[in-house]
Every structure is written in structure tokens, then in C-alpha cells.
Amino acid sequence: MAKLKVLSVELIAPITQKEQILEYLQKKGTVEVSAVTGDYTSLQDRSQDRAALDTDASSLQSALHALDAAVPVKKPLTAMLEPRIALSEEAFAEKAAAIPETVALAENVLALQREAAELEEEIARLRAENDTLEPWADADFPVRSGSTGRVSYLLGSVRKAVTREELEGVLSAAFPEIDCVEFEIYHTFEDQTTFAAFCMDPDAAEVEQALREYGFVFAPDCASSSPGEKIRENDSQIAADETRLREIGQKLTETAEKRGDLQFALDALAARRELLGAAEKTGQTERVFLLRGYAAEKDAERVKKQAEAKFDAAVELREPAEDEDVPVILKNNGFASPLENITGMYSLPGRADIDPTGSMAFFYYLFFGMMLSDAGYGLLIVLLTGGALLFKRDMERRMRNNVKMYFFCGLSTVFWGAMYGSWFGDAPQVIMREFFHKEIGPLYIWTDAVTDTMNVLIMCFILGLVHLFWGVLMKGWTDIKNGHKLDALFDTIPTFLTVIGIAPIFFGLFAQDSIPAGYTPLGTFFFNVFTAVHNGLKPVSTYLLIAGLVLVIATAGRHSKSIGGKLGGGLYAVYGMFSGYLGDVLSYARLLALGMATGVIGQVMNMLGTLPGNPVVKVIMFIPVFIAGHAANLAINLIGAYVHTNRLQYVEFFSKFYEGGGRAFAPLEANTKFYRIKEEN
């Protein structure tokens, strides 16, 4: 439970060794490089190099997307547990030499992808054209109207179903004098009739006029060939395009085997980009360059030793000055370290803060389990995460920490589930009753949260009070760490006295006089302890309260200059204490509420599954309802437990002592996705 001691690092070396030294530091990944400010001839500008890298990287990225779309990879469910592929330094360098070819390959993939898109577009266009030409497929005229020299023809349609006789009727009604007209009908649809009209050349204008008045439109133009020919032409073009598309698909499939190369190149470019970013932060003169940064004490010393031995470098380590923006590195034991992410999500410890991760670990797991509170769910989580921890030992650190966190949360969930007697809701009882016709009683070790609400609620409040007091103690500890020993006393003792003084009144509202007969031994024990403490405190609580209040009024305003300010500060603190602690303690009721929600909804799922009367149907129905119902219940309550455990830590616990505002340590390292260089000493 600690913040690691961070030293300021200054490295001076000849410019000629700059790249090598940066590469060395990147490989170690333990030094954060900060920008050098001051009188140096130049801060290097490498933005053009970076832009070139970005262009290549974006080609690679797009090519990978294209390959994924063309040849999807089926990722197993456990893919997220897979670590990056480790390469030795030599293998890395060897692969790195091939990067230009890989970039060319990526550009080739993109060209193929563009071509494929164009081909698909063309195919779609030709198909659409064929669809519109289809009704005239039998007509063997190249254009929609024309003349053979003596006979004219008009190719087109009207938007209704008509017969030849009707068309002839239309024409003779309009121009009775024209007698030599012939119609050829190709297709009659419900709402369209396609046909050609033939007439003598001199009559063409009149025929067209009469037909147009009747709603005639010309057929689509297909240039030099007749509709039928055009359709055949289009079809052969489509076939050719499709062949080419298949070729492209084949090529992409072949390239997809080199996906690893693309991923490697992408990683290598990303690493290179970080290196350039660091290079830009160094200061340089004509001959030497200066690198400033931070590293954890141990790492800093190792880097100093190695860098001075390997290169012509001088490394100086010193304690950072008071006003420096020093990054924070957390270091915790295996039980607490998974929760560093949780601390980080709130805010990393600031200058005056202690690392809260260790102090919250126990309560974090405890509360999580209490809110999920089903032993069956807990067991499931423990098995899954425990299996992952056992069989996938090479997980990345971050992933491993997440898995570990859920492992501990799962253990706590099993514990609370057993206390409440909830195993997939009331599944053991339901299965025994419905399928084996045997009644088994409740399985709880402590009590049933649904019917024994009051006692569980009191337990929640007590745990909450302990959690809050623990936070106040942390405040005292922070004071001591910062050398304010008196503050440590004033910040803790008055609060304890006041809150313990008022507690019996508060708990008196909820406490029950007696417990039901046949209560569990553990429940009876809790009840007796609670009653003893409660009754023991009652007589002295008034004195504790008065002493506490006097101390609060006397000390809480101590940082104020004037007497009035001191008194006002003290009184305000009393008000804050009552309203604050009351709200804080009540907030722990969520431990009961969320726990009860899991259990009751689990029971509803079991009930739904056993609704049918017929025993065979019941079994068939029960299994899928059980699986789907409990999966949904677990998913939603898992999120609820996670969110509300965080909230209890952030809002109730951290507010007692924790400021935050620290900056995360961001070392120069190869921030890669797929590959990493194997560590060698």
C-alpha cells in the first residue's frame, strides 16, 4: 500500500548515441521522458517523420480492416486473455527490416479493396439496367425510335395493361385517316404494357402524338444494340466482373495469411512513433543531448548503472523538488494491486495523499460480495477467473489484475451467498421440491435477507460505520505521514466520540427487542453482540456525545484566524457531521437492497422455469429458463455490484481522507497491441 518513491533522472550523452539510448530506454520501459525547457540550441522537430509514420500506419490499419472484412477471423471467447506475442530482440529486428515490403503489401490490399468496390458498384449498375430492359428483351431494334427508310417504329410502354385492339382503338379514334399501323406487344404487366408501334414514315409524328396523349413513354435508350443484345452484353460483363471479384477475394485470402506481418508493422510503427515523441522532448546542443524524466527509485538506479556502462552517458538521479509535477506509481501486494485500476478511475493520489488502494481492498471485496450475494454466481465467477489464472499464466498484467479482482470478488460472493442461503436463488429447494418431491429447508448460515430485513439492515449500517471510521483513521494516518501529529488526533477522536455517542439513538430506531425462535446460531450470536454493545453504550452515550461535540466545536475551526471563525467553523462542523454521517450510513442500505434484488429475481427465474405441471415439460422448460434467466440476472447484478461498490469507495470512503489529483506515470515504452520484445537482462 504505497506510492513508490520516484526520482528525477537527468541523462547527458553524445548526440550520436541518442537513438540507441532512446531505444534502450524504450525497451526497458521504466523511464518517463518529460520535455526539457531552457537554453538549448534546438528541440528537435521530428513532426515530418511522425507524419510519414502516421500515413503508413493508417494504410496498415485500413488494410487490416479490409482483410478482417474479407476473411473474418473467428476469435475464441478467451481471446482477450491472450497475451501479446513475445519476440526476441533479433527476431524483432529481422521482422522490422521487412516493414517497407509490408507497407507495400498493405497498399496493394487497399488497391484491391478499391477495385472490388468499383466492380461491385458496376455489377449493381448493370443488374439495374438489365432489370429496366427486361420488358423489351424481345424487341430487336437498336434504338427506341427510328425508321427503316419507309417504315417507322416507336418502342416504349404505357403504364397500364392494354391489348393490341385497345391500342388500335386509341389510334383510330385520334387519327381515323391513318390505317396502316401495326402493334407488337412484348409484355403485359398489371401496370405496364411494353410494345412497339410500326407505321409508314409520313404518319410517324401523328402516331407518336396520339400515343403520347394516351400515356406512351419511350423505352430506355441502349445505344447501338437492341435491348436483348444489351442484356446479353451486360450479363457477360457481370460474369467477367464476378470472376475478377473472385480473384480479388482469392488474393485477399492469400494476403490474410500475412495478417501477422501487418500487425507487426503496425506495432513497430507505433513504437517508433513514441520514440520520436520522446526524441522531440530532449534538448540538445551541437554535440550532446539532455534527457530529463522520472523513474521509480529502483528502476532509476538500474538505468543509471546500465546506461553508464553501455553508452558514454552521464546519469544524475535526485529527489524531485517540491513544485515538480512528479508522476505517481502505485505498488501493492497481490490482494490489493487488482484494485489499482479502481483507484486510478477515481484519481491517483496527489502529493499529500497516501495510496488508498490497500486500505480499501478488504471492504471492496466484502461489499461486492454482499451486493451480488449469490453463492452460485460467486462459484461461477471463482471457477472462471480461477481457471483463467491457473491455466493462462501469461496474461498481460492489466488483464491479469482484472481477472484477479473478480476472483476475490467471487470468493466474497460465495461467502455472502452462503450466509444468506442463496444458491442460484432458491434453486436447491426448487429442484428438490419440483423434481424429487422433497422439501429441504432454507440453506442460510446467517439469515434470509428477504424476511429478516431488519437484522440485515442493521448489519449493513454497522459495516458502513466501520468503513467510515476506517476512512477517518486513514485521515489521521495521512496527517501523520505529512507530519501533522496533532491534526491526526483532532481529525479522528472528536468524530469517533460524537458518532459513537449518537449511534445508540440511531440504531434504537431499527433494533428489535427479541429474535424469533429457531434463529440460526450465527444470527443469534450477532444479535447478542449487537444488543450487548448497544445496551453497554446507551448509558455512556450522552457523555460521549457531549465530549465529542465539545471537542468538535473546539478543534474543527482551528485553522481559522479569528476566534469567531474558530467557533463558527466548529459549529458548522457539527452540522456537517450530523447530516453527513446520517446520509453516509443510510447509503449502506444499498448493501441490503442490491443483495435482496439478486436473490429475489433469481427466485423468480426458478419459479418461471417450474410453471408447467407436466413433469417432462417441466424439465424441458426448466433448463433453458434456468440458464438464460440466471445469466441475465448475473449480468445485470454484476454491473450493479461493481458500480455501487465503487460508489461506496469513492463517495463515502474517499471523501473522508482522499484528495487525488495525481498524474499517472507514463514511461517511454513500446505501446504495442500484438507483439512485444521478450525481456532479457
Partner: protein
């Protein structure tokens, strides 16, 4: 059957119904904001999903109260129950905190969560804070749940069923 049972069922229906309506409205509201973020960056799905699920809990609390009401009063399960209309109204009143606060807190929490989606879009590392903002609103749903549970418990003891 006296009006008592009717009032009890009405209370249970309102608790589950109103809270469920609030949660449906709330998750939809956050979901729309979340979809906008995911359309830009699908990798943020997990983070915004948590925000979307936050206002879903009120519906569950409502369901919880409905089931507790029906089972405590013996309407679900044992059967053969009789309540006077006064007793029924008392149970009805016990369900009201969950029904009313469940609805409004879900909608209001959704607004905080939808704003939190904006945080995730711009600063994915600060999603913890976005979650906390929204989680604060839920406190009042939890308090209402608690009041309803306590009242139901008390009434069940009081009427000796």
C-alpha cells in the same frame, strides 16, 4: 373477495409498472447517446454499456417490491387470503415510494448517465467519474426501496398474516 386484495395488487402493479416505465425510458435515453459514441468508436461499447444499464435497476427494484408485496400478503403462493379495504390501502401506500421515486429517479439518473456518455466519448479514462455521477442519483431509489420494504415488513407483522 373484498377490495383489499384489489388495492394490494394495484400497489404491486404500480411499483413494477411505473419503475419499469422509468427504467425503459431511462435506458432508452442513455442508449441513444451511447449509440452515437459507439458509431464513432466501437471499442467504447463496454464503457457506455455500464452507463446505459445504470437506470435499469429501478425496474428491478420495482419488480422486487411487487414480488415482496404479493408474497408477503399471501396472494402469490398460499392463496385463500382476505383483507379489508383499509388493510389493502395500507399495503398500497407502502408500494407508493417505490412506484413514484422509481419512475422519476430512473429518468433523472438517465439524464446524468447520458451526460456521462459525453465524458466517455471525450475522456475514456475518466469513465469512473461518469459512473459515480449517475450512481449518486440512484441513492434515492434505494432509499425509496428501503422505505417500501420496511413498510411492507411492518404491515405484514401488524396484520399477523
Amino acid at each position: 373477495m373484498d377490495l383489499g386484495v384489489f388495492f394490494i395488487v394495484l400497489g404491486a402493479v404500480l411499483a413494477a409498472g411505473l419503475s419499469g416505465m422509468g427504467s425503459a425510458k431511462g435506458t432508452s435515453l442513455v442508449g441513444q447517446a451511447a449509440a452515437g459514441v459507439v458509431s464513432e468508436d466501437p471499442s467504447k461499447f463496454g464503457k457506455v454499456l455500464i452507463l446505459q444499464v445504470l437506470p435499469a435497476t429501478q425496474g428491478l427494484y420495482g419488480l422486487l417490491i411487487a414480488i415482496l408485496t404479493l408474497s408477503f400478503t399471501g396472494i402469490m403462493g398460499s392463496g385463500g387470503v382476505a383483507y379489508t379495504w383499509q388493510q389493502g390501502l395500507a399495503f398500497f401506500a407502502a408500494d407508493l415510494p417505490m412506484a413514484i421515486v422509481g419512475y422519476f429517479s430512473a429518468v433523472q439518473q438517465a439524464k446524468a448517465a447520458a451526460a456521462g456518455v459525453g465524458i466517455v466519448a471525450k475522456k475514456p479514462n475518466e469513465s469512473g467519474k461518469a459512473i459515480t455521477f449517475a450512481a449518486l442519483v440512484e441513492t434515492y431509489a434505494i432509499l425509496a426501496l428501503l422505505v417500501s420494504v420496511l413498510a411492507l415488513n411492518g404491515l405484514t407483522t401488524l396484520f399477523g398474516k
